[in-house]
Point group: C2
Chain length 430, copies 2
């Protein structure tokens, strides 16, 4: 399969590769190579081409942290900080997902929005509810998108009616993992379960300990929240006075499996915690919109990149308000500029770096995803940027930057996941 | 004329007035009153109603500072700060407007985008070109929207081919003012000329002096840029070593007419300058997206509000990347939270205050605009927020907040300016 158009992808954090009128050749769902008309191997010459001449061909976006149920209360309560926001706005909406009709309506809304957003891979918190979480998985399976989905675990300090019993929480977690794996048995299935302790304050030591065992047993990935807010960190210290740090709580309970963990936020980690994150090859889900919406703080993005942390980009719906990774790219650059205003030695990230974070950087949590280098999974967005045409000529990289800042979701013409057309814009009009 | 729906507007900076299933009664383009079914005067009972039951009825947005030609390079060059950004990206695109076909294409694009944005009043920089600026005016007249439009003056330190001769600049400014006033003779015309010295570094003392006289002679309003960037401020100091401050340069040349001036940015003003702004009742066009995109700094919004400065909200296309005032409301709140992180005693603005800035606050530069209090001009947005319905009930204020954060331009159903339907969403599909 061949897709023709104006191709852009990151070769690495600091460099775009661009090919005008290029050919993206896909075999078995993976990128075989990217060619010009002159370099296209003769074996491809007779194959039919999906011709998107004049359109931008870029990798699908990857979002390493979002809460699917919170799409329902997106935009509410941002005058509060994290802990009161959870109590006042988030837990009550999550409780609603015990009702099947509510879950059906709102997970449909979420997956439809996701399909229009340009995101092809996402790591999702659902709620604690097994039934609703299965419903979400079914809808994601139909969408053709890739997702890690977690049934949330929360057995302390939560809202009445939403808080779980420890045993039930563990039982349903295993039920969920087995159910997803049975439906999606391939080792590299697009939809996979992920172990999801909400965060330290709402999971007992017993629960965390047992979730660590489940993680090991099933070889699952893990997602949670870490050092988002100063009051949250103080609370963790109080709950676990003998532990070294917030990070070490997860570590001690086996919830930082090496190379298989994503931790949202990491705004206020100590140097020692950062060392532990690096040792465990933990992915950091940077959520710039959320961090400022909830006044959590400004993550030192440049410092983390310089130190080689595995930084990825996340919408954090609904601490973040924007599902679109276009918006989150802008927010990441903006918050990085804020950080530079505060700490002039920490230079703001470039557009190339921000685009990397939303594609190849975040994609690395999902496998070889987010680039068009050979062997990468062929997740592709076809972007029609004709509405941005001002009559002048621009490079492919300039056109992509203009699209990110001044374009909108209506420019997304088609989306491929692993080389399969999952969404075209006629779908959007349904 | 009566519009029925779920009404919200600011009574003042800190308070919304909301009426579910309310009636907005309009006479001669002005708000006569807002009523419930119970309080609707009997004289209105037989009048036909524009029935938007279930939709949100909110004031049109007002944008006090944007560059119409820069819509063409929106999203480019944000790795640079103001002065190199102007030289590298902005002046070259503005120079293109000497070509009629370029101006025709790009001002059409701009006005079409503006019509879809929810903004009903805007204060615009065009370019230095008389012909293109007239073209912009013609397109705005057809749109039904309200705008102050300025032919830009720039006779020093500018790009070759874009920089003007002082005499020609003045001659064309008067030509433009007279031409606009002849076409729009009413004192309160929706489209009005505004005196527009680009900023101190690109206008000679002679030009500023004479523009001050023109301002006085024609009773025009004035718009320019002030204290946006530290390098810019240092440059002004060098160009005008005998002047007290950047602000006083404008003042000395008669370019801060009392209550008739809007100055974009005001990020780094001294206390003495702030006093002068207050004395002259200068409107500050706060441009939060621009200020972070170009790393200009964080305007102390709370301090200005506390001091009673006339703060308004602006997109500053294309230092800012978003024409939509929805996005700029979010950006204003976010940058205000950044300011609170830096200066905890300066509290972040509330959603109510941010909405005020984009409506009643910015509207005050255009007259009695931006509220539905009696006597205000009836600029109205009809918002269909059905796509945000999650099955729960929310107050009108909560629905508006959800719309701002999680809605999009497709929710805008109709727009009225001075009680006249200017745009409905079928237009958008043209």
């Amino acid at each position: 399969m061949i897709i023709k158009g104006d191709i852009l992808y990151n070769k690495d954090k600091d460099q775009f590769e661009t090919i005008e009128n290029g050919y993206l050749c896909i075999e078995n769902g993976k990128v075989e190579g990217v060619y010009t008309a002159d370099t296209l191997p003769s074996s491809y010459e007779k194959q039919s081409v999906e011709d998107h001449t004049g359109c931008l061909i870029i990798p699908g976006f990857c979002d390493t942290h979002a809460h699917a149920p919170q799409w329902s209360n997106c935009g509410m309560g941002y005058s509060l900080e994290l802990l009161p926001w959870l109590d006042t706005y988030t837990f009550p909406i999550e409780k609603e997902f015990e009702k099947e009709a509510f879950a059906e309506h709102n997970y449909t809304r979420f997956v439809e929005a996701l399909k229009k957003s340009g995101t092809t891979r996402i790591s999702l918190f659902a709620t604690r509810h097994l039934k609703a979480t299965k419903l979400l998985v079914e809808k994601l399976e139909k969408s053709g998108l890739g997702a890690y989905v977690g049934k949330v675990n929360m057995d302390r300090n939560s809202m009445e009616g939403l808080q779980e019993e420890t045993k039930q929480s563990l039982y349903e977690t295993e039920q969920f993992i087995n159910w997803v794996k049975e439906r999606n048995p391939q080792k590299d299935a697009l939809i996979q379960p992920i172990v999801t302790p909400r965060f330290v304050p709402s999971t007992t030591s017993e629960l965390m300990h047992r979730l660590g065992k489940i993680t090991e047993q099933y070889g699952c990935k893990v997602q949670s929240h870490l050092c988002e807010n100063k009051s949250e960190i103080a609370w963790v210290k109080k709950l676990h006075p003998k532990c070294d740090s917030f990070t070490s709580v997860y570590y001690d309970y086996g919830l930082l499996p090496k190379g298989r963990t994503v931790m949202a936020h990491c705004v206020h980690n100590t140097e020692k915690e950062l060392e532990l994150l690096q040792k465990q090859q933990v992915y950091i889900a940077h959520s710039p919109a959320s961090n400022i919406n909830l006044s959590s703080g400004i993550m030192p993005l440049r410092k983390y990149l310089d130190e080689g942390q595995l930084v990825t980009l996340a919408s954090d719906i609904s601490g973040g308000h924007a599902l679109s990774m276009r918006v989150n790219i802008i927010q990441a650059i903006q918050m990085s500029k804020v950080n530079q205003l505060m700490h002039p030695e920490q230079k703001a990230i470039t557009f190339t770096e921000a685009f990397y974070l939303a594609t190849m950087g975040s994609g690395s949590f999902f496998g070889k995803v987010g680039s068009f280098l050979p062997g990468y999974e062929a997740d592709v967005q076809i972007i029609d940027d004709a509405s941005l045409d001002n009559g002048l000529s621009y490079s492919v990289a300039q056109r992509v930057e203009r699209y990110i800042y001044a374009g909108n979701d209506a420019c997304i013409k088609e989306i491929y996941v692993r080389g399969k057309k999952s969404i075209d814009n006629s779908t959007f009009l349904d």
